[in-house]
């Protein structure tokens, strides 16, 4: 449970593209640098589940990677509980889109990776068991990732992330590539996990419904450079039903419109 402060965050990239795409700023020539994120200020509170939306390529993944410590900002900084993020660490765990499990290790060993320095063997084993049960993978402890379904792989990865007891969970499109039903179930799982553990969780998604159903807060970013277009809190109980919450449906249309879709069904 951490407070995250993003202060004047800027990330510049070199434009390597010789032939500009339609929609690119014609002022940016090949070899120029351009801002993917420009002087972004954002604060996330303790225990919040924040869903971040934005057009593809808007810099939301870059922002996550900087918060995780995988990427360094060109200027500005990210503070977690007042301490500057300099490198990746178990305090702020990044949950990958897919293939984050090490394929040469069983589910059990993968989940135990972050606990490998634990002196007390019985405590280590009970922690692993606890998280395996939490994501309902009991019976699959000794399976290898390639023997699991896509949804099970995501759950195992979530368990590995939670097992190190991080203060911040960073999820980059956690449901992409899952079939519809698995997507819904996995979303439920993440919501339950959050209700139970109350960890500060950042979720980048391109699915507006995910954001509306999961988020304590929704942040919509604009495209290159990323700046905040909408920042709203959702104080509705979960599970949320669009039918009974006309405000949510209203918000949904607004966000769709903001992202360039005029007639969302």
């Amino acid at each position: 449970m951490s407070r995250i402060e993003i202060q004047q965050l800027t990330k510049q990239y070199l434009n390597r593209r010789v032939h500009p795409r339609s929609g690119d700023d014609p002022a940016i020539k090949p070899g120029d640098t351009f801002d993917v994120i420009s002087a972004l200020d954002l604060n996330f509170n303790n225990g919040e589940m924040v869903c971040i939306l934005g057009p593809s390529g808007c810099g939301k993944s870059t922002m996550l990677r900087i918060i995780a410590g995988f990427d360094v900002p060109s200027s500005g900084q990210v503070l977690i509980d007042g301490r500057k993020v300099r490198e990746p660490g178990t305090d702020h765990i990044f949950v990958f889109q897919q293939n984050g499990l090490l394929p040469w290790m069983t589910v059990w060993d993968n989940i135990g990776l972050g606990l490998r320095h634990m002196k007390d063997k019985t405590e280590k084993e009970s922690t692993i068991t606890e998280f395996i049960e939490m994501v309902e993978l009991d019976g699959f402890e000794h399976h290898y990732p390639h023997q699991l379904s896509g949804g099970m792989q995501r759950r195992a990865e979530l368990a590995r992330a939670l097992a190190v007891n991080p203060n911040l969970l960073i999820m980059d499109e956690p449901f992409s590539g899952l079939d519809f039903l698995t997507h819904m179930k996995m979303r439920e799982e993440v919501v339950n996990m959050h209700e139970y553990l109350r960890k500060t969780t950042l979720v980048v998604t391109h699915d507006i419904d995910d954001a509306l159903i999961m988020g304590d807060r929704i942040v919509v970013l604009s495209s290159s450079p990323a700046t905040v277009r909408l920042d709203c809190h959702l104080d509705y109980d979960r599970p949320r039903d669009f039918e009974k919450l006309p405000e949510l449906s209203q918000l949904r249309s607004e966000i769709f419109f903001m992202l360039g879709v005029n007639y969302a069904v």
Binding site: G69, T90, I93, N99, G100, L102, W104, Y144
Partner: protein, 244 residues
């Protein structure tokens, strides 16, 4: 099995209806009898042991040097850039071209042969290890960084297991090459081994012994490949070796 029976039959037919004498093209039955003779008087076993001994030492040395070298060159960019031109230059030189130098440096005996086998397996192993290291999904290193792995842990828990499936394939290829090279090396540098047996039999004009030697070489090659293939059945490499 069927393949070998057919081959045997065709061989016998060619022998029956051909015009070659037994000295030039012996019948498979003669060869089998000679094989039995060679086996019984101990010559064959002695030469087999000599060849396998050289291959084992040379191959293990290549594995012990080649794989760590490949990991270093693959992981540390400056080491790779420094050594890669040298590697690419030495690689196309056939190990057999080293024979004169090997004999000059190490004399006659096991050492030059082992050196040649080392060279023959070393280059394919290094090259495929580098390629394997470079093709590791970067996500795994990010996971490792996220979970505070130190360099040793990254090497033993990420890099090594990640390259293992491709390294096993490379081991299969290089043991075959090593086996090819040992026979050639034994024809020049030493007085024992299956290569020497073949050369010596040729000098004695015993083509049945030459063919017996070839059969043994082929059979051992099959066994070596079979043994290497067993490595692919290890459970923690099946993610990379199993056909999807």
């Amino acid at each position: 099995m069927v393949t070998f029976i057919v081959l045997f039959g065709v061989w016998e037919l060619i022998h029956r209806f051909g015009t070659w004498s037994d000295q030039v093209f012996p019948s498979p039955f003669v060869v089998l009898t000679s094989l039995k003779d060679l086996f019984e008087n101990g010559t064959l076993v002695k030469h087999m042991v000599a060849s396998l001994y050289r291959v084992t030492i040379g191959f293990y040395a290549a594995v012990l040097v080649g794989i760590p070298a490949g990991i270093l060159m693959g992981r540390l960019e400056f080491v790779g850039k420094l050594l890669n031109p040298l590697l690419q230059f030495l690689r196309p030189i056939s190990p057999l071209a080293w024979i004169p130098l090997a004999m000059l440096w190490f004399g006659i005996g096991d050492v030059p042969a082992i050196f040649l086998i080392f060279l023959s397996s070393f280059f394919p192993l290094v090259v495929s290890t580098i390629a394997a290291v470079k093709s590791i999904n970067p996500i795994y290193f990010q996971v490792a960084a996220n979970l505070n792995f130190n360099t040793w842990e990254v090497t033993t828990m990420i890099t090594l297991p990640a390259i293992l499936p491709s390294v096993i394939t490379a081991l299969r290829i290089s043991i075959t090459i090593a086996w090819l090279v040992v026979v050639a090396a034994e024809m020049i540098a030493v007085q024992s081994g299956l290569g020497y047996l073949i050369l010596d039999s040729r000098n004695a004009l015993r083509m049945d012994y030459v063919m017996a030697g070839m059969i043994v070489i082929g059979a051992i090659g099959l066994v070596l490949d079979f043994l290497m293939r067993q490595l692919e059945r290890i459970e923690s490499v099946q993610w990379g070796t199993q056909k999807k």
